[in-house]
């Protein structure tokens, strides 16, 4: 980065970047601030930015009124479960395509990606009916199944792009030294594959946590994750902004933290390796 940057130029770009960053981040910041206000202050004009009566009572009310913990548990189980099962199926598949490619590997990969292009709404009716007939509506296992299959192509693709970067010479060397396929897998490949698997896990967990088509359509209460929990705040009952803000903050806080950790993997993950 040998750039000749004058001090004034750095000052201008610093100012501009912070203003833009602040504007983009503002809705989230405002939501967090509102969550600590009383309902009356949340609704008042002109709005108070920092000098209001700070309170945490909204968080208690939200927990009491709509049981945040139970919904967060559902989100955790559904996002975690679907991600882990998807990894279990995808790691062997990605391994095989990266290390034992055949003539058809490219076609298989593109075909997998094409299943992701199928809009969920195109199969809403049959999935809903299958779920109804098998008693899967409003169950966590049902959602785990659907989200797992829905994200499987992305998981395979992400893992594939990571595995492909593992140098093949190392395998050759291990084989020369007499390592069997099994040993090669455990002692040579696994340690090198762990970072890629970890970032795939993280990104897929985030996608599953925020998924809001199947969760809204296939659950109502028992298995409802946080997306549905927030949707229950869409019909206003009197003053509810502070409570809505508290509930929203609770729903996005865990994933925002994870998301910030995974932002570098996000690009290659979501572009299927087309941009790195």
């Amino acid at each position: 980065m040998a750039r000749r940057d004058s001090a004034s130029r750095v000052f201008v770009s610093t100012l501009a970047a912070w203003v833009v960053g602040f504007l983009i981040f503002f809705p989230i910041l405002w939501m967090v601030l509102t969550s600590f206000k009383t309902e009356l202050e949340a609704f008042s004009t002109p709005p108070s930015f920092l000098f209001f009566h700070w309170t945490t009572e909204n968080y208690a009310t939200v927990q009491e009124r709509s049981d945040y913990v139970a919904h967060a548990m559902n989100s955790l189980i559904i996002a975690g479960g679907s991600t882990l099962i998807a990894l279990l199926i995808a790691v062997p598949a990605a391994w095989s395509m990266a290390f034992a490619p055949t003539k058809r590997t490219k076609d298989v990969l593109l075909w997998m990606l094409s299943t992701k292009m199928l809009p969920p709404v195109g199969v809403l009716v049959p999935i809903y009916l299958i779920f109804r007939d098998f008693g899967l509506l409003d169950t966590r296992s049902g959602l785990i199944l659907v989200l797992c299959l829905g994200n499987l192509p992305i998981v395979v693709w992400m893992l594939f792009t990571y595995f492909k970067e593992i140098p093949k010479d190392i395998l050759e060397a291990a084989r020369m030294d007499g390592a069997t396929v099994g040993k090669e897998l455990i002692y040579v490949l696994t340690p090198m594959a762990v970072p890629g698997i970890a970032s795939t896990l993280l990104l897929n967990f985030i996608l599953a946590w925020n998924e809001a088509f199947w969760t809204l359509n296939l659950t109502t209460s028992e298995a409802a994750p946080l997306t549905v929990f927030i949707a229950s705040y869409s019909s206003p009952e009197g003053l509810f902004w502070a409570k809505l803000s508290a509930a929203s903050t609770l729903a996005i806080a865990p994933i925002l933290v994870l998301g910030w950790f995974s932002q570098r993997q996000l690009v290659r993950g979501l572009t299927f390796g087309a941009v790195k």
Binding site: V10, A93, L118, G122, P126, I230, L266
Partner: protein, 290 residues
């Protein structure tokens, strides 16, 4: 280099994923096709009968279909335009040298991690409310009439919310692409007397062409099926003003229980998505060396 042993093992390891995805794709799709040929309403169980292409004729000639197709195209097109233009500008800005890069980067990427139901409700209530929303306060402060966003410009309101969610994605991808641009090339152009603007036009922009194409195509896949933002704010209304194809099919299926009609609509959505998917596959396929 693969031995016979690894080849066999490879095939064995690939099978579960391929088989599951195949079933996941074929079974529901086959059922959708089958249902789309029936007159089948969940409110009249046992009355199913074969009607041929009647559902398609009905769906495609329904004024609601044309309205929702128009809304879908306006929504996707506007969000793409906003996110690509704003995303490019943000990426160019973040590519400069400035103090606090990592913090600004975090602030810019944050909206992408907010679940759709949260961003829609926070925007609708805290920002766009006609009386107590932040926008109304800003408008009043500078002496303008506050706008009742969801009453006056319902589709545009949805577009704003979705664009806010996707701008970080575009910005992050384009920033990544910018950072891989050869600095020397840009320096040389500047040295040869090219202005900042022509350097951008002839060197930076061509370099961004492919990443922009990738952004457009990936966003399109997700934008075609925008659902939660509409579900929690407008419910498709007023009238049909914010009903897109995904929401139209949802309401046919789970509000009117018209299985046949919704299935025909679902297949139309699949066809539209596939036309776009073909383009994406070409681009991604080209960058793939197996």
């Amino acid at each position: 280099m693969a031995t016979q042993q690894t080849q066999t093992l490879g095939r064995l390891l690939l099978t579960p994923a391929v088989a599951l995805l195949f079933v996941w794709m074929i079974v529901p799709l086959g059922m959708t096709i089958y249902f789309s040929l029936l007159s089948y309403n969940l409110l009249n169980p046992g009355m199913e009968r074969f009607v041929g292409l009647e559902n398609y004729v009905y769906f495609l000639t329904d004024p609601a279909f044309l309205a929702s197709l128009r809304n879908t195209l306006v929504l996707v097109g506007s969000v793409l335009l906003i996110t690509v233009v704003v995303g490019t500008l943000v990426a160019l800005l973040l590519d400069q040298a400035f103090v606090g890069r990592s913090i600004v980067r975090l602030m810019v990427i944050a909206p992408f991690f907010v679940m759709p139901t949260v961003s829609a409700l926070v925007w609708k209530n805290l920002l766009m409310h006609p009386v107590s929303g932040m926008f109304a306060w800003i408008m009043t402060s500078i002496g303008l009439e506050p706008i009742d966003w969801f009453a006056q410009y319902p589709l545009f309101s949805i577009i704003l919310i979705v664009a806010w969610q996707w701008t970080p994605f575009a910005a992050l991808i384009l920033l990544t692409a910018l950072q891989s641009l050869d600095e020397e090339q840009r320096e040389a152009a500047l040295m040869d007397g090219a202005g900042a603007f022509s350097t951008f036009l002839y060197i930076t922009l061509p370099h961004l062409a492919r990443p922009i194409a990738v952004v457009i195509l990936i966003e399109t896949i997700f934008l075609l099926t925008v659902f939660a933002e509409i579900y929690v704010t407008t419910g498709g209304g007023p009238g049909l003003q914010t009903t897109n194809i995904a929401f139209l099919i949802y309401s046919q299926a789970l509000i009117q229980y018209d299985v046949g009609g919704a299935s025909a609509g679902g297949l139309v959505a699949v066809v539209i998505a596939n036309i776009l998917a073909i383009f994406l596959m070409r681009i991604v396929g080209r960058s793939l060396e197996v």
